[in-house]
Symmetry: C2
């Protein structure tokens, strides 16, 4: 834990400076770096410091050592190809269901290295000991909670914490409008049921959170996949056109730390999104489950922050940052708040008072901010490291996102690679990945995969990435790069 | 607690014998009982024993003392009027939503005597201390559970317990077909979504579980209210006709301890129900949340016990007998099992491993059967006592169900009484009841109310019932009977 919180050391500062120069093109691919000794004497640093910095850059896939000729800058991972996101396309039903079931089954097999699901794995990513302690204490003090029906909207103590946390993301919510849900998934489900009717068409991003297809299909809703830029999210002109043409009755999107792209929508686009929702009276469901895992300070405000008329319904959860097992999420459904409260009551009842109050007590304790700072830094480092592994082991021409938060990485492999075949080949080697086919209907992301960087990057992880890289090289018909 | 578990004493045995004679008509209303001394000497019992038995019968509203002339049999509460259940009637939308919201709001007010919701209230009805202990122990031993995503279908340990318990109700389920849900409400919701499409018509009982109207409306489903006998449940000829005419695409029913009627469908009707479902290929959703609270031993088997082709989807929960706060239910969706598993995954994710494993450990411990025996007896006694209060304080002509299990009582007041007006008048006196209007659309149950007998029947409860009875007498235009 301590490394994640330590102030930057000299070697880290040096590595960061060089990394920035590489990303900015001031140190182009193929150019040589000063030798360890040269660098140390130029900058008045110890040889150990420079060695450590170069090793870090190697780990990140940014530089490599050529035998007898020192270090050089590697070809950096390019961004995903924005031109892939062309026209909106209409989707009905969920062809991905079978494939998703196959992935879920694969993960359930014992002994797999699971790079597929967005599930941090390991005690350092969650404050489990402290939360367990708080919960045990409440069990001792309030056993009578177990014998009560918890009814929506959920305990005020927790809704009040949600309200307070939302302020940091620019939102002035009221505790009485918030409903505690069974994770963000139920929040999303209730939001859709509240603001659409069967037969409606819902705009979604492409790629989008894979469960959305099943969810829409099960509610009798059609989907319109909207063009989504790998760095800026939804393309606003195309979105405006779809709204103006009446082609969508609602929109689901992730303006902040998009899943799977990891990108943040620019501030101006968030403002425009809120204005468009209002102008066209199209409800927008804003999924912000990764918003508190943004690397930058201060964090980007939610699109809802710019919505004065309640057209934006915000959904979130505590599963990504505190405790997935408690399955607690929330929704502020804006002008659909009453409908959502009724639906929650009629569809699944309330959430456990014990779990809600435990979470509220943890949030009140102030440990949450400490924990958040720690995991944000940790995830940022881990994502950089996994990008490094990709740069070293994956075929030339592989592109990767540069996430603004969270722990997911989206890769575009050379065009010929079929990610479903890669998924199956990797499975045979004990590695589970999420194939791009679940992220869009049709073949648009056939050559893409999503990786989770939220586990301990130990030898097993590194070996798994090497295996995956070798399989990808084979599929692309090239030998490994380095 | 101890009284609930004690073997029947002599006075209880005597009271029971006399009660049976009264219910069977061998001691008709108005007939005199032997004096205390006569009875004692006839039966060779002590005077104390006979006095205690007579007092119990008085409490149950079955007998009364006439000054200077001994005890006589009171007019017993008649059964609800079966002729009220006429023709099937088509329903669309949920007119009850507003009324239900009003009731929910009333209950949330502090200091109310809540006779409305089916929520046992008080530590003796739930094994909270033991369950809290089990949960705290697992928190100490397995804090890592908090940091894992629990995925459907839920832990095998709990599904295995469900399978074992289902055997007692005649069902041979397989653990792999069971999905753990967020209470029976989510089970019902998933079942409906799996076996219907928007626009379909679902057969329901009238009266039925009040949330069903909201649920159906929110899923774009129409309802057909089917005639339901107060003692036998669904009228089978009318049901068969509706199925044969293709008027219903699915059916939701509670063959065992019906809510609100408390009745059990006769065995032959259960068999016929299963056969009809199969013959007409109409999925039947069997809600069995009160099945383990049947008073009789052995309990009636589920309708599902007679279904060999998976047309009956069974839903249940542990909220009524163990811990409402954990919100754990389950479904075996028969031929819709795969669809339900997918829907659960896409709609709300899994249930908390901590809560599931705690419940499984409690079920494994054997304390559950002990607890069940205790509360079954307790609820049976309490329901009898509340019937006694009704007989003593409510207007002449009030009818009441004689439940086969659970803790709910359904009253039919004289025809002129408007239960919504009664609800509001009672609210002003600090008593919350469930008005009959939420149990059917239209005016069919306008003069009915549902009472919960699952709280400590202390002075406050008795006073509340007196107040309610007086208001009902006023509304019926008669003075109190006794």
């Amino acid at each position: 834990m301590s490394t994640a919180l330590a102030p930057r050391t000299r070697y880290q500062a040096l590595a960061e400076e060089l990394a920035q120069a590489i990303h900015a093109g001031r140190l182009p691919a193929g150019s040589g770096l000063p030798s360890l000794r040269e660098c140390a004497s130029q900058r008045g640093l110890s040889l150990n410091t420079v060695t450590a910095a170069y090793r870090l850059l190697e780990d990140q896939g940014l530089i490599a050592a050529r035998p007898q000729s020192g270090f050089y800058v590697r070809s950096v991972l390019a961004e995903p190809d924005a031109s892939l996101r062309r026209q909106p396309s209409q989707v009905q039903g969920s062809a991905q269901q079978q494939l998703l079931a196959e992935v879920m089954e694969a993960q359930a097999q014992p002994g797999m290295l699971n790079l597929a699901l967005a599930i941090p794995k390991g005690p350092r990513f969650y404050p489990q000991e402290r939360l367990a302690k708080v919960t045990a204490q409440l069990l001792r003090q309030q056993p009578e909670w177990l014998s009560r029906y918890a009814l929506p909207p959920g305990p005020l103590a927790l809704r009040e914490q949600v309200r307070l946390r939302a302020q940091r993301l620019g939102m002035a919510l009221r505790a009485e409008d918030i409903v505690i849900t069974h994770g963000a998934m139920e929040a999303l489900q209730l939001a859709l049921r509240a603001c659409t009717r069967p037969g409606d068409t819902v705009g979604i991003e492409a790629p989008a959170y894979f469960n959305i297809y099943d969810l829409l299909a099960s509610l009798g809703l059609k989907a319109l996949e909207l063009p989504t830029h790998p760095r800026h999210g939804l393309l606003m002109d195309e979105l405006e056109q779809a709204m103006a043409d009446g082609r969508i009755d609602a929109l689901v999107c992730m303006p902040t730390v998009h899943n799977p792209l990891g990108c943040n929508m620019p501030l101006a686009n968030r403002q425009r999104l809120a204005a468009l929702a209002q102008q066209h009276q199209v409800p927008v469901i804003e999924d912000m489950v990764y918003s508190e895992l943004q690397y930058a300070e201060p964090p980007a405000p939610a699109a809802r922050a710019f919505d004065s008329e309640g057209w934006i319904l915000v959904c979130s959860s505590f599963s990504k940052a505190i405790a997935p097992d408690y399955r607690l999420g929330w929704i502020d459904a804006g002008r659909y708040a009453t409908a959502v409260r009724h639906l929650k009551f009629a569809s699944s009842g309330g959430e456990s008072e014990l779990l809600c109050q435990s979470l509220a007590a943890f949030l009140q304790s102030g440990h949450y901010d400490h924990h958040l700072r720690s995991i944000r830094r940790l995830y940022e480092q881990q994502v950089a490291s996994v990008r490094g592994l990709v740069a070293r082991h994956f075929p030339e021409g592989t592109r990767a996102t540069q996430p603004e938060g969270g722990f997911l990485l989206w890769l575009e492999l050379p065009a010929g690679v079929d990610s479903l075949a890669l998924f199956r080949a990797a499975l045979a080697e004990g590695v589970v990945i999420m194939p791009g086919q679940v992220y869009s209907q049709g073949a648009r992301y056939r050559h893409c995969i999503r990786l989770s960087c939220a586990q301990v990057l130990d030898e097993r992880y590194v070996d798994g990435m090497k295996v995956l890289g070798a399989l990808a090289c084979e599929a692309a018909g090239v030998s490994e790069v380095s």
